[in-house]
């Protein structure tokens, strides 16, 4: 039986983890390679590394980080942030990523999705979508506004129609972040997640808003998510992906255990 995935996400700047799933780790809380290995060991089904380095010079550091992180990592590894061209993607794959996540660049040039998929396969292309409900739309959820540049700018697209287009262009998965829920710890936006998940035939990874185990149960049920990104939940009494999954299993969610 296919299981629901718990994905550990690391936000990285200049080669150091700046946010994301952080356990108390006095030795080296900021080394992405160390943290990724730990999450894999402690039951994460997949690792996402999002590079938030703004500068061009930072790209070299990113590739080195990806290389070091991938070296001993034997679970799926997705890298996002600043991938603007198929060549950027090729370098990240060469460094050891299994998937790339594209966001702003895909909205600017949707052909990027086709191009990466053609060279590396649809399974290697994750399209990240940041969406905020639009209270003025007839359907505030399905017509949620898509944002670019880390949520600072309107993309001029509606979430369901953009999600469908990315699928048509060959995206393998959608990483959907609800800007309404992100950072609130009040639960995932299950309505938004379900609206996108039902509109496309490819897996949807839910992101934003997790605070408790019940929130994950909810997004896998009502939200129809295929996977969920775990970030700050680990600050709130859940010590690892494994313990999160053990609790999910008790609540009747199918997860990869033992892991």
């Amino acid at each position: 039986m296919i299981t629901k995935r718990i994905i550990a996400c690391l936000d990285v700047r200049d080669g150091r983890v700046v946010k994301g799933v952080q356990f108390v780790d006095i030795v080296d809380a900021g080394d992405p390679a160390v943290q990724a290995a730990r999450h894999a060991r402690e039951g994460a089904d997949e690792i996402v590394l999002l590079d938030i380095t703004a500068t061009h010079e930072g790209r070299g550091t990113l590739l080195d980080t990806v290389r070091r992180t991938a070296r001993e990592l034997f679970v799926p590894f997705c890298v996002g942030g600043g991938i603007r061209t198929a060549d950027d993607a090729a370098q990240v794959f060469e460094a050891g990523a299994d998937k790339v996540s594209v966001n702003s660049a895909a909205l600017k040039d949707p052909m990027l999705i086709d191009a990466i998929g053609r060279s590396f396969g649809a399974q290697a292309v994750v399209v990240a979508i940041d969406a905020r409900r639009d209270p003025e739309a007839t359907d505030p959820v399905r017509d949620a506004q898509v944002y670019v540049q880390g949520g600072r700018k309107l993309a001029g697209r509606r979430v369901v129609e953009w999600a469908r287009e990315t699928e048509d262009r060959g995206a393998g998965e959608i990483l959907l972040t609800s800007m309404n829920s992100d950072g609130m710890r009040t639960g995932f936006d299950c309505e938004l997640t379900a609206a996108v998940s039902e509109a496309v035939g490819i897996p949807v990874i839910a992101s934003g808003g997790a605070g408790t185990v019940a929130h994950f149960v909810d997004v896998f049920g009502r939200g129809k998510a295929d996977a969920a990104l775990a970030a700050s939940i680990f600050h709130f009494g859940i010590s690892s992906a494994r313990s999160l999954k053990e609790e999910l299993a008790r609540a009747g969610v199918s997860v990869r255990l033992p892991c």
Binding site: T3, A40, D45, V75, D98, A122
Partner: protein, 207 residues
């Protein structure tokens, strides 16, 4: 142990190479050195992407070289599209023949309400006596990402259920294939790759 990894320009090889090296294998990558392929100790055909990409194996002459190596008894492992290539063909690229080592066809998952591609961790029902899947216990999970699949037949080494039962591993003598990605399947995947590296004629006796 020296493993020849075939590069047919379909996706990246980094993860497969990394896992094999982690297990102590020496890896050699080739996209057309036929003599090297024929004299290999082990051959791995990775694959992410489209079945049509296997056309390159024909264009470069690798197909007959691999066929000759297999006939010589060289252990061969196809991964994902690399497994599907062992069959007669796939409806993903009907004009492109496979190796036809196994006579069946690979097909797209049937229409259903489930998501396709099948992405994520799923379990294996291992059939008895598979050297490739030795010591893989019921309920162990491996990582899949695919839209096409091989049918369950007599040569199926493991069955996985998604929409319908399909062959998640195939094995006959020295020719093996896995639909999942052992290089991305944690400890279970590494165990399967280790079994492949340890495969020998004698081990075949457990079939």
């Amino acid at each position: 142990m020296r493993v020849t990894v075939i590069d047919y320009k379909a996706g990246n090889l980094t993860s497969v190479l990394k896992a094999l090296r982690h297990l102590g294998a020496e890896t050699i990558v080739t996209d057309g050195d036929l003599a090297l392929v024929e004299s290999s100790e082990r051959i791995v055909l990775p694959g992410v992407g489209h079945f049509a990409a296997t056309e390159r194996l024909d264009a470069t002459g690798l197909t007959p070289a691999i066929r000759a190596a297999i006939a010589r008894g060289v252990p061969f492992l196809g991964i994902c599209v690399g497994m599907q290539w062992l069959y007669a063909g796939s409806s993903e690229a009907p004009e492109q023949p496979g190796l036809a080592h196994f006579s069946d066809q690979c097909e797209h998952f049937a229409e259903s309400t489930e998501k396709v591609p099948h992405v994520g961790w799923n379990s294996l029902e291992v059939r008895k006596g598979s050297p490739l899947l030795a010591n893989v216990e019921p309920g162990e999970f491996v990582y899949f990402t695919h839209s096409y699949k091989a049918p369950v037949t007599a040569n199926t080494a493991a069955v996985t259920h998604y929409i319908e039962p399909f062959a998640s591993a195939v094995e006959r003598g020295n020719v093996m294939g896995v639909q999942f990605h052992p290089e991305k399947s944690g400890a279970t995947g590494l165990k399967i790759l280790r079994n492949f590296l340890a495969w020998n004629e004698a081990g075949k006796g457990t079939e």
